[in-house]
């Protein structure tokens, strides 16, 4: 498939299209494997009555209910039971779980952001500036208020990005080095050896 990027010949194009079809066909059964695997994992837990098996039973029960409702009523019906299950149960539960972050972040920020040393102080000041700069409150702060979004953008696009790029470069170089070691047979731990 990489060759097709550089050689736009009819043969490479035909092979590329063949591979695309192959990937699509090979990818779809993965769903069947995923659902089967999920079912097996939870079914075994329920059968063996392992601690917390009740949650597995709930999972299995709702897999059946959701699938049955989905087969009988299509999701196209905006007032149908399947849409109700999706929008009023699943979305609400997921949003609630995600929104719990706000509580944990508030508590964690209160406990962690202490100006114990120079580095912690810089982090603390940056956090406060970004928190104000990402809301409309800076508009109410006299004189210096208008600088908050400017400094926020600078913090996000310069120091933050520099660190991010450093991490990305490190990751990429590390991946290349590990891949080379594996190709050249220097790194063998993935085969179960000691390397």
């Amino acid at each position: 498939m990489i060759i097709q990027y550089f050689v736009p010949h009819a043969y490479s194009q035909a092979f590329f299209n063949y591979m695309l079809d192959f990937l699509i066909i090979a990818g779809v059964p993965a769903i069947v494997i995923g659902v089967t695997s999920l079912w097996r994992v939870h079914w075994i837990k329920v059968r063996r009555r392992v601690p917390g098996y009740f949650y597995s039973a709930v999972t299995l029960f709702f897999i059946i209910i959701t699938a049955a409702v989905g087969f009988i009523w299509q999701y196209d019906d905006p007032r149908g039971p399947f849409r109700f299950l999706f929008e009023s149960v699943q979305i609400s539960i997921q949003s609630t779980m995600f929104s719990l972050l706000a509580f944990y972040i508030a508590s964690a920020a209160y406990r962690a952001f202490r100006a114990r040393n120079a580095q912690a102080t810089v982090l603390l000041i940056a956090a406060v500036i970004v928190m104000i700069g990402r809301t409309s409150f800076w508009g109410y702060i006299p004189v210096v208020g208008k600088y908050f979004p400017i400094v926020t953008n600078w913090l996000m696009y310069v120091p933050n990005l520099a660190a991010k790029r450093g991490i990305y470069l490190g990751l990429a170089l590390g991946s290349i080095a590990t891949s080379l070691k594996m190709i050249l047979g220097i790194e063998r731990s993935y085969l179960g050896g000691t390397g």
Binding site: M1, Y5, Q13, N17, M19, L20, L23, I24, G27, V28, A30, I31, Y75, P78, R83, F86, E87, Q90, I91, S92, I93, Q94, S95, M97, F98, S99, A102, F103, I105, A106, S107, A109, Y110, R111, F113, R114, A115, R116, L124, A127, V128, M131, I132, R134, T135, S136, F137, G139, P149, N153, M156, Y157, N160, L161, K164, R165, Y168
Partner: protein, 324 residues
């Protein structure tokens, strides 16, 4: 326990309670805080404004239920903007939940703005695996997406007659709670030079900034703040289009017709309520930003309190040491 120790050890239940209060109260009593524009959102808005004639947007609804409060206002505003400017919309996703969420919004807004499926928008729905489909769309969409989400062959869809590949698509916008926009960058932008933008949650923003700086992303909406900005942009466009061709009156009439078809002949108060509800949805991110802004101030307050306690504790410790 001394007062400065207490300041450092506020019970987390009190923190949780106060956070719940400051988040909930502005939703009931809106503060209507102003919304200020930022360059990444403006870049996306201006790009879409610059699309002329039969422009086409390809939207990727790859978000899930957990990020709906942040992502949905972005999706809603972009769809509104596109429909107001008569830009055609294609949708394709590899997230099952995103496909359902996106489809609901597309249909709802299309009905409000009087847009026709197959002529103004087409949804390919949930199709996997994404990599070969993204690559394949660069040469021939029909090869990898032979039918739309309703099972209609592409050849039978009028809008698709002039849309063959990325060459006929002006911009791809990926909406997600993770960094799925990388797939469009790797396989669509790099290979086929199609423009890409993203709408992501606040926590993913840092992942997108490097691509924004290198212009691999032409614009970005990150978190509720940017969703609020785009919402305001969409409202301004609607006000402008309304002056030219009374689109809001048409929208209101379409909403009233939908209510009547569902509930029969209803009183005008019911129609007014429905219109208020729809307009409320149009302002969802801005309302949410009231809560977020107050919550940020509360967190800053807690941080300041904790640090006052910390420094007072240090001073007390030094004094005690000096005495001994």
């Amino acid at each position: 326990m001394k007062w400065f120790d207490r300041m450092q050890q506020i019970d987390r239940r009190i923190i949780y309670l106060l956070v719940a209060l400051v988040v909930a109260l502005p939703l009931v009593l809106p503060l209507d805080l102003p919304t200020f524009y930022t360059p990444p959102v403006n870049a996306l808005f201006n790009f879409i404004e610059g699309i002329k004639g039969d422009g086409v947007l390809l939207l990727g609804f790859n978000h899930d239920g957990s990020v709906v409060p942040e992502i949905e206002p972005m999706v809603r505003s972009v769809i509104r903007h596109a429909f107001l400017r008569d830009i055609k919309i294609l949708a394709y996703c590899w997230s099952l939940e995103g496909a359902t969420l996106g489809d609901s919004l597309l249909v709802e807004l299309a009905n409000q703005y009087g847009k026709v499926y197959g002529e103004d928008y087409v949804n390919f729905g949930y199709k996997i695996p994404s990599f070969p489909i993204i690559i394949g769309m660069g040469s021939d969409i029909t090869r990898v997406l032979p039918t739309d989400s309703r099972g209609t062959p592409i050849g039978e869809i009028p809008m698709m007659k002039n849309i063959r590949s990325y060459e006929n698509i002006d911009l791809i916008i990926d909406f997600s709670g993770s960094s799925t926009f990388y797939r469009w960058i790797y396989f669509a932008h790099t290979r086929f030079d199609v423009d890409v933008a993203a709408g992501v949650t606040g926590v993913i923003a840092a992942e997108a900034f490097p691509l924004l700086q290198t212009e691999q992303l032409i614009g970005l909406m990150a978190g509720l703040k940017d969703a609020a900005e785009y919402e305001q942009h969409a409202d301004e466009v609607e006000a402008e289009v309304d002056k030219a061709r009374g689109i809001t009156t048409t929208r209101r009439a379409n909403i009233a017709a939908a209510v009547r078809s569902r509930e029969g002949d209803v009183a005008s108060e019911r129609l007014d309520r429905e219109w208020d509800r729809v307009r409320d949805y149009d302002k969802r991110a801005r309302k949410g930003m009231d809560s977020q802004a107050i919550a940020h101030i509360l967190i800053i307050g807690f941080i300041v309190l904790g640090n006052i306690g910390y420094f007072a504790g240090l001073r007390d410790k030094k004094r005690t040491l000096r005495r001994h």
